[in-house]
Subunit: 227 residues, 4 copies
């Protein structure tokens, strides 16, 4: 299988995993950089549960569709801004995780308290304007708030996660919601014990070696395919 | 397919979507105006998970069955009152969403904090008498409380949502429960940040253009059919 | 179909509905009086998800197995005590509903706040000793606490619901958990508004006419069969 | 079937039950002592939803793989430490139960309030360092904290449960999460009433006679197989 076909296949797997986990319901997008190019693939305005490999669009960093038969997503600017400014990011998910969304509409910071939350050490940044990211300026602003973190909350409007690979971006989405669920539950019964910066650093090293990332990714792909 | 058959097909889709989302369990009704007429279609006293196209009743605005072999629903007056007084409403759902119901039995107002909640700006009105809407007077009273809003909570007794199309009425039901879930979760962990009137207005415009409504409706119909 | 076979079939439906609703997981029992007799049918020590019609036991009011190849349940005394003292009760469920169980282990009374909760007006009684109901004395004590109510909570140990028919006993189990879920959710966000005694009485009349009970029962049986 | 094949089959059942209950998602391990030996079986670095009988590893008490084609799990030391010091333990689960995990990251003790929680009388001990158990020293430290209890929480990192049989270790995992869910729910609505030491002792005797353990195990195996 040629690399682009392989990448597209991986993107469709990502779409199905995010749907099966209910991290998207009807909306949301996934994008992935085409290696050694100024181009990236992105899902069109189609549910991630239903989108097919042939429908994937190829965009350049100006947000123009260079291949594909559908218009670019409203929020294409979010993806171009991140792809342009963050060379280590090769994949992006744009999701609507329920419990992470709850944190974004309160004054409560989403901080890690458990091992798979360690990627979010220091707390997940929040982009406060509740608008769709439909202009280059809004896209650049989100990319700046994201910084070098793996995720950003858009107030009342879902989340963005990024990774060096599609698998990593999707696992960040899954771990983000897991971190939110555990902190949400903890806040209801007592004083949560956050991971210290040191503990987070150590746990992060342990929790995402390539072998474990692959193991988790394989598990979630299998669950999505057999559901 | 003739327009009435098409409308009936859409109604059955609505019934299945509401069942699959557990917004109804055994009870509930869906109705839809027959265009350019004084008549509307309504589901009989049959679970929305099980009702068939042939069982749909045709009622006039006096609540009389003009076509169909079953008695009108107990709450037919709810539907006639809304159909009579709100010409822009062409479809109604009568549901029992769990978390929205929780708000109706407390002193807490259901106000939007997230983008898909923006339709409910200013808060969802509550009809306080806990009775079934089984008289013309009760029907008229609910229609008045509903006003120009897309939804009304019936205390301890479910909800009513309306729309210009069946798809819109169903999506209002789904977004109502989503708005309730997110506010419920937010209230447990901190101070919720409501959308301002301005933010709501802007988000409402963005969140329900016809293309997005169709995308969401297609997603939920597909989920219901494949479940 | 002869009446006993019909009754056994209905019992197996009840077992499957309670399993599908997760009101039992591995444990629990259902019993039903044989009309015009001093005998009743009861499930043996077998999961309600798995028990078959042929395995059902026939017991007399002394708790003796008069037909069937398995020993009586540990808690047979619970069923004999209720069957003996409450002639209007023809069916019993012994379940472990999660949220209702939560109320039983706190100082908080489970009182109805919504229409389908109206059957539990005045609050659901609690039997405080956490023991299995494995003696005639414990059985009699539970029957006394139950009184003329449709349900009783056994502290930390599940619940008992009763009805004039199998369908009614099962619907009481489903409505009990629904009432618990709604009150539990309400307590987390504000001051719950209980139904007054008058409101409950009126709602109870409206909410369980035979036509509606049949409609709900048909819905849940269909869901269990198709799951 | 020879005893080792039988044991391996039971282990795979345990893996599937834990997956189906979502007590593991991608990660986690199960181990079981080979009777009358210094050896035990353990799952390799493969999701418990996917692992096959042929992939099971045989380890000695020094953590060396004596049979099998994959490397030992990172946390093999956890299993060797417990197997070495606790002769009555013949099976171990290493899980990531969601609600039990929530307790581990707060100052709130997980104490039993309901009958199936009675096994955890006195509260579930917590191992505070958030590290993976990847050295003999950490393994020994967890084994010491576990003591004679059936479960230990690893702060923010899941749990360990043990039993005299595979079925018992798995049921302890299921009852641990059940105990956590009920206490979590109780803490949200009022003052939980813990089981006294006496009540726990009595309930423990009643709740896990071999016949009931078998009944529950059979139920969960059936659910996992038919899901």
């Amino acid at each position: 299988m040629d690399p682009i076909t392989q990448l597209k296949k991986e993107m469709i797997s990502a779409c199905r995993v995010l749907s099966q986990q209910k991290l998207v319901e009807g909306f949301g997008h996934v994008s992935a950089r085409i290696p050694d190019s100024e181009l990236f693939l992105i899902t069109p305005r189609v549910s991630l549960a239903l989108v097919t490999r042939k429908e994937l669009l190829t965009l350049n960093l100006k947000g123009e569709v260079v291949e594909g038969n559908q218009p670019a997503p409203f929020e294409a600017w979010l993806h171009t801004a991140i792809m342009k400014t963050k060379p280590r990011v090769n994949a992006i998910t744009r999701i609507h995780a329920r419990v992470a969304n709850i944190f974004s509409v309160t004054d409560r910071k989403l901080e890690p308290v458990h091992n798979h939350g360690s990627f979010f050490s220091g707390g997940v940044p929040v982009f406060h304007p509740p608008d769709l990211i439909s202009t280059p300026e809004l896209g650049a602003a989100v990319a700046e708030i994201l910084g070098e973190k793996p995720a950003v909350l858009l107030r009342g409007n879902g989340q963005v996660t990024v990774g060096g690979t599609i698998a990593e971006a999707v696992m960040m989405a899954i771990y983000l919601e897991e971190a939110a669920e555990i902190l949400h539950g903890a806040l209801q019964i007592g004083a949560p014990i956050p991971l210290t910066a040191n503990e987070s650093a150590r746990r992060r090293e342990e929790a995402l070696p390539p072998v474990d990332l692959e193991r988790a990714w394989k598990f979630f792909k299998n669950r999505a395919e057999s559901s």
